[in-house]
C-alpha cells in the first residue's frame, strides 16, 4: 500500500517536472480512468449490463456547469452538486432498470440515458444545445492548470481509495457474488436487486465525480458526453485493462487516451485500429492486460509450490 501511496504522491510533482501538455494528458487519463473504474464497479464487479454509464458522467458535468453559469451560487457548490445529481439520476434510472434482466436492463438504460441526452441537446435556452457550454468559470483556487491538476489528482486519489474500500468490504464481496450467481445469492438471503441498486447509486456518484472533474479540466460540457457511443468506449477501456481487476480500467483508459492522441495524429483510421485491438483482446486476452498478468502470477505461484496455509488473501 505504501508503494501505491508513494506513486500517487509522486504524480503531484508532475506539473513541476513535465510539460503542460503531459500534465493535461495525465488529467484526461485520470478523469477518463475514474469514469471507467466507476463503470467497472458495476460491470466487472457487479455483472450488470450498465450500457449507458456516460449519461451519469454527463449529468454530473452538466449539473456543475449549469449551477456555475446560471446561478449565483459559489462555484464550489456546483462542483459538489454534480456527483449528488448523478447519484440521484442513478437511483431513479437504476430503480427502473434493476427489475429487468441483462440485455433488457441495458436497453431500457440506453433509452433512459438517451432521454437525458435529448434534454441536453434540445433544451437550448438552458444548455445551448449542440454547441455546449464553454468557458465555465472555476473557483479561484482551481484556475491555474497546475492547481487544477493537483485538485484532480487529489480527488481521484480519494475516490480510488473509497472505491477500493467498498470493493474490499462485505458489500463488494457480496456484489461479486451477485455477479457470479444472482440466484444463489438470493438463496443465501441477499436482497439482490436492492444490493445492485445500491451499487448503481455508488457507481453513478463516482461517474458524477468524473463529470465534475471533466469540467475542472476542460471548462466545457457538451451533449456528446451523454451519447451512447461514449458509453461503449468506456466499456472497451474496462475490457482492455481487465474486468476483474481493480485498477485495470484506469490502465485501459490510459492506453486508449494515449493511443488516440498518438495514433490519431498520424492516421484517420483510428476507429479501425481500435476495432482490431478490441477483437484481438477478445480472442487472446479476454480478461484484459491486468487480468492476464494476474493469471500469470497465479500460474507461477502454483508452479513454485502449493500455497501456504492461511495464505495471503485470507490473512490480508
Amino acid at each position: 500500500m505504501l508503494w501505491a501511496l508513494g506513486l500517487w504522491l509522486a504524480l503531484f510533482f508532475a506539473p513541476l517536472a513535465a510539460g503542460r501538455f503531459t500534465v493535461y494528458l495525465l488529467g484526461v487519463i485520470l478523469v477518463t480512468g475514474l469514469l471507467a473504474m466507476s463503470l467497472n464497479l458495476l460491470v466487472g464487479h457487479g455483472g450488470a449490463y450498465q450500457f449507458h454509464h456516460g449519461a451519469f458522467y454527463g449529468v454530473g458535468a452538466y449539473t456543475a456547469a449549469l449551477l456555475i453559469t446560471k446561478t449565483s451560487l459559489p462555484a464550489w457548490v456546483g462542483l459538489a452538486a454534480g456527483p449528488l445529481a448523478a447519484a440521484f439520476a442513478g437511483l431513479m434510472i437504476g430503480s427502473l432498470c434493476i427489475r429487468l434482466n441483462k440485455l433488457y436492463f441495458g436497453m431500457i438504460q440506453i433509452s433512459l440515458g438517451s432521454l437525458l441526452w435529448i434534454l441536453a441537446l434540445r433544451w437550448y435556452d438552458l444548455t445551448n444545445g449542440d454547441d455546449g457550454i464553454h468557458g465555465i468559470p472555476l473557483p479561484e483556487a482551481l484556475s491555474g492548470s497546475g492547481s487544477a491538476f493537483t485538485f484532480l489528482l487529489a480527488v481521484v486519489g480519494v475516490c480510488l481509495l473509497a472505491m477500493h474500500r467498498i470493493l474490499e468490504s462485505p458489500f463488494g464481496t457480496t456484489l461479486r457474488a451477485i455477479r457470479d450467481n444472482p440466484q444463489r445469492c438470493a438463496a443465501v438471503g441477499i436482497h439482490v436487486r436492492r444490493h445492485q441498486l445500491t451499487a448503481i447509486v455508488i457507481a453513478t456518484f463516482f461517474a458524477g465525480v468524473a463529470g465534475v472533474l471533466f469540467v475542472v479540466l476542460e471548462g466545457s460540457v457538451f451533449p456528446d458526453m451523454l451519447f451512447w457511443v461514449l458509453s461503449l468506449e468506456i466499456f472497451i477501456m474496462c475490457l482492455l485493462g481487465g474486468w476483474f481487476t481493480f485498477l485495470g480500467p484506469m490502465l485501459g483508459a490510459a492506453i486508449i487516451v494515449l493511443l488516440r492522441t498518438v495514433v490519431g495524429g498520424f492516421t484517420e483510421y483510428w476507429t479501425l485500429i481500435l476495432g482490431v485491438v478490441l477483437i484481438l483482446l477478445i480472442f487472446f486476452l479476454p480478461e484484459g492486460i491486468m487480468g492476464a498478468g494476474h493469471r500469470l502470477r497465479l500460474y507461477r505461484r502454483r508452479a513454485a509450490g502449493p500455497p501456504s496455509r492461511g495464505g495471503d488473501r485470507a490473512a490480508g
Binding site: 449490463y49 427502473l96 434482466n101 433488457y104 433509452s111 476495432g275 478490441l278
Partner: protein, 296 residues
C-alpha cells in the same frame, strides 16, 4: 393546423408510416433472428446495412444507372453483405459462441468499427444517391396526399419479405432446426445435426436482411458514412420492444415505431424524437421482456 387533422391526411400519413415500418422491419427482423438463434447482439448489423447501401450504389453506378442496374443492386447488395458475413462468421464468430453476451456485444462493436472504416476506405466519404427506375419515381395522389411511388413499392416489398421469412422459418428443415436451436442448443446438437453450419447460415440470412434493408433505403436517402449509427440503435430498440429474438416481435416493434412516429409528426411533431426511447421505457416497465415471447 386544423386541416392536418382531416381523415384523409391521417390515412395518408398512416400509409407513409407503414412504408417506413417496412424498412425498419427488414433490418430489425435480421437482427432479431440472429439474437434468437445465435444469441448474438450484433452491433455490426448497422454497418452491414450501410455496406448494403454503398454496395447497391456501386452496382447501380457500374451498370450506368440503367433501370436494370437498380434491380441488380437490390439483389447484388444483399449477396455481397452475405459474403462478408459468411467470412466473418467462419473466421471469427464461430469461435466465440460460448462467450458471455457482453463479450459478443463488444466483439461485434469492434467489428462495426472495422467495417465502418473499411467502408470509408473502399468508397470514400462523398455523399451518394441511387435513382430508382422511372416507374418508381415521383408521387401518386392518395386521398389528397402526395405519396412517393417508391414508398408504395416498399409497402409491397415489406410483406413479401415477411412472408418469405415465415416460409423459411416454418416450412423448411433449416428453419425448424434454427428455431429449435434458439430454444435449446444442446438438444439440437444431441440429435446429430451439424449445428455449426446451421448457425453460419442463420447468421448469413440475418445479415443479408440488413444488406437488403440498406439497398432498399438507398434511393430515398443520401448514402453516407454514419448511416450505421442511426439505424443500429433504432433496430435494437425495436427488437427490444418486440421481445428479443422474436421475428414477429420485430414486426410489431417496427409497425409501432413507423406508424406512431409518422402519426406523431402530424399531432405532436416536437414529440417525435423522444418517442422511440419513451416507448421502450414504457413497454419494458410493464412488460419486462417485450411485447411478444422472448427467448432471452
Amino acid at each position: 393546423m386544423e386541416s392536418s387533422f382531416s381523415l384523409a391526411a391521417f390515412l395518408g400519413q398512416f400509409l407513409v408510416g407503414l412504408s417506413r415500418a417496412m424498412i425498419l422491419f427488414i433490418v430489425a427482423s435480421g437482427l432479431s433472428f440472429i439474437l434468437g438463434v445465435l444469441r448474438v447482439p450484433n452491433v455490426a448489423h448497422g454497418s452491414l446495412y450501410m455496406i448494403g447501401a454503398f454496395a447497391a450504389h456501386a452496382i447501380a453506378t457500374a451498370l450506368g444507372n440503367h433501370p436494370a442496374g437498380f434491380w441488380a443492386a437490390m439483389v447484388g447488395a444483399p449477396l455481397i453483405v452475405g459474403g462478408i458475413s459468411l467470412a466473418a462468421e467462419r473466421l471469427l464468430f464461430r469461435h466465440l459462441y460460448e462467450r458471455e453476451h457482453l463479450m459478443l456485444l463488444l466483439f461485434t462493436f469492434g467489428l462495426a468499427l472495422i467495417l465502418g472504416d473499411l467502408t470509408k476506405m473502399t468508397w470514400g466519404a462523398d455523399y451518394r444517391s441511387i435513382v430508382p427506375p422511372p416507374f418508381l419515381q415521383g408521387s401518386l395522389d392518395v386521398l389528397g396526399t402526395a405519396l412517393p411511388r417508391y414508398n408504395l413499392f416498399l409497402l409491397l416489398v415489406g410483406p413479401a419479405v415477411a412472408v418469405a421469412l415465415w416460409l423459411v422459418s416454418a416450412k423448411t428443415r433449416f428453419g425448424k432446426i434454427a428455431r429449435a436451436a434458439a430454444v435449446d442448443r444442446e438438444m439440437v446438437g444431441a440429435i446429430g445435426i451439424h449445428v455449426s453450419w446451421v448457425f453460419a447460415w442463420a447468421f448469413v440470412l440475418g445479415c443479408m436482411l440488413a444488406g437488403l434493408g440498406g439497398a432498399l433505403v438507398s434511393p430515398t436517402i443520401s448514402v453516407t458514412l454514419g448511416m450505421d449509427h442511426t439505424i443500429i440503435i433504432e433496430a435494437f430498440l425495436i427488437v427490444t420492444i418486440g421481445g428479443l429474438g422474436n421475428i414477429w416481435g420485430a414486426l410489431v416493434g417496427s409497425l409501432l415505431f413507423g406508424v406512431t412516429q409518422s402519426l406523431g409528426v402530424l399531432v405532436l411533431p416536437q414529440f417525435a424524437i423522444v418517442f422511440p426511447y419513451l416507448a421502450v421505457v414504457l413497454i419494458l416497465t410493464f412488460k419486462p421482456t417485450g411485447l411478444l415471447r422472448s427467448v432471452w
